[in-house]
Symmetry: C2
Subunit: 341 residues, 2 copies
DNA sequence: GACCGTTGCGCAATCGTTTCCGGTATGCCG
DNA sequence: CGGCATACCGGAAACGATTGCGCAACGGTC
């Protein structure tokens, strides 16, 4: 089935040298002097035999596997996770590391089992990711391991990478302020205390508005899903409210808001401006395209790998900026003279 | 940093037995007789020392790593990929295997490098996945390896798992027929030959329609994206066409169609019924919720793992059914007496 | 010719398991 | 008391690399 792989010992024998020499040649180490002829001979034989090192054997000795684990509660289930995975994958591949991906489904027992399985395979380090930003309790079995938290935090001593949600809130609010909005600004989406992203975004929003001498006109309470947002928004409009600008807690909420606004005959952005968070695919699919503050998922992944592999200084919790993706859903308050025409 | 892990030899010494005995006890092998007392003693010591086997050492000897590789062109970039990953992950975890995930980005050089890296780590097998169903050329370096193709095929001798797109086409068409549609049925989305999913879906659609003595009233040509679909559909309506039912090539196309229909004042499903393919998140977010034929992504992943680990018979190319998710976007042709109210 | 630095390389142990061979008691039978 | 199962276990060689030493040969110096 699987054809024979030449071993280092075979290469050494065929080249007429010791395994030691062959090893030094193959790994390119220079702390043992090897003549050019010998070196070339070994390399030639290795190439002829199509030699590839057995990394398990190497790792057994050297204690380094060039392997890292990305373990998450719901890595694949959540739609954005792909970008995190991709960022980590790419960063790992660039550094010649391979990634084990695991999903605990939030089950502590499964989590424990997976961590042990990973440990048994001698992974060099862990990225522990959660889908929603929150405080995390680091599993006991991860104590003492090389570890970076992603999207969650657990004190200063463990490096963590999270999105700068407060900054995002400021950015979103500022986008409206810059467009000339001063009143009629409403928040859409519930402010539940367990949604850290939410509280922080709101904190940033209020800071930016406050700095401009503006305050929120009100808020529409709904779950962070299209249907809930649609219903709440429809009821809000039916009650006679007429918002001039909406800050939606995420793109899915924005979708629901769009549906209600359009059904009520309100134009975006002529009558109502909309900004949102996440910058998912949805943002470009809506009509008009949605201005959204992007979650830097790919960067979170990359950054976590960089820190894990010790290339970046770890400064406790690192907050990655959430950039504004400016599109067509924001215009100046009255009239159609918005910056996007 | 990382605390000491007890080795099997240590356990053996502390239990007063040979490593051989300890090994047999720990792996639960019965082909060497071991007294109950000895067994218990070893187990107790192992537990006290918190012993965990070093799988690298084990694998070095036994040639089995309990590790498989999922290698894909664009695993994370594409939004559905998450479900494939999740399915494989779960299936692998259930069988005590760990998954290496890799993304080649369609680059043959990177692909070659990644496969070699995986081979060097002695993975037990490969799942080679592509995001869009197509013929695949299997990389040379994968020849002779345990391998299952996912979403692509390359001849009878290599097991493959793909969605049953022809069946999906039949299902979609049948949904309209069952609702009473006989004419005014239009296709939305380009029929490009490289989109195997497309050709096969159309094949199924025409088969089902033909069997019912019905034929397509026409088609709207557009790329498989919301914006393109919106524009094409808007133009189509502007030209005076009035479709009674739409079969959209995927949910994103359906989104574009929804936008155009709603802008034209046409009601879904009162005036126009819509069915689609993929059953992405979008389908439940739209108003009305979209009837869609689901891509069984999670099952593709699971199935590939099962076949790879030899639990399922490999019968060449296995086509997984694409089930209909019936929602509110389909009703009987005229009047609002659709089955979903 | 003794000494020494440099150059070039090999021996053998090691990593933590598994596994191929045995081996030693003990009891029982005849 | 010899022989033979049976029950229980251990020695040591793998697996395929890395690595701590040590060592031979050569050339030059005094």
């Amino acid at each position: 089935m699987t054809q024979h792989r030449a071993t280092l010992t075979e290469v050494a024998r065929r080249a007429g040298v010791s395994p030691t020499t062959a090893s030094f040649v193959m790994t390119g180490r220079t702390d043992m002097r090897i003549s050019v002829e010998t070196r070339d001979r070994v390399l030639r034989v290795a190439h002829e035999l199509n030699y590839r090192p057995n990394l398990m054997a190497r790792s057994l000795r050297s204690k380094v596997t060039q392997t890292i684990a990305l373990i998450s509660d719901t890595i694949a289930t959540e739609q954005y996770a792909g970008q995190i995975v991709y960022g980590s994958l790419a960063a790992a591949a660039e550094r010649r590391h391979l990634l084990f991906i695991c999903e605990t489904e939030g089950d502590p027992v499964l989590e424990e089992r997976l961590i042990n399985d990973l440990l048994d395979r001698q992974v060099d380090g862990f990225i522990y990711a959660t889908m929603y930003t929150r405080r995390a309790r680091v599993p006991r079995s991860l104590r003492g391991q090389r570890l970076v938290l992603l999207n969650c935090a657990a004190g200063r001593e463990i490096p963590a990478v999270v999105p700068d949600e407060v900054g995002a809130g400021r950015t979103a609010a500022q986008a409206l302020i810059d467009a000339g909005h001063r009143d009629g600004i409403h928040l859409v989406g519930e402010r539940a205390p367990h949604l850290i992203a939410g509280s922080e975004r709101i904190q940033g929003i209020e800071a930016a508005l406050g700095a401009a001498g503006v305050s929120l006109a009100g808020s529409v309470d709904c779950a962070w899903w299209p249907e809930s947002a649609y219903e709440a928004m429809a009821a809000f409009l039916a009650a006679g409210h007429l918002p001039k600008a909406l800050i939606c807690m995420n793109d899915r909420v924005a979708l629901g808001a769009y549906q209600a606004l359009q059904e009520a005959g309100l134009g975006i952005p002529e009558d109502v401006s909309v900004v949102s968070f996440d910058d998912s695919d949805l943002a470009t699919w809506l009509r008009p395209q949605l201005t959204s503050v992007a979650l830097p998922h790919q960067w979170l992944g990359r950054r976590a790998v960089e820190i894990l592999l010790g290339e970046a200084e770890h400064e406790g919790v690192e907050r990655l900026p959430m950039p504004l993706r400016h599109r067509s859903s924001v215009a100046s308050p009255r009239g159609r003279s918005g910056r996007d025409g």
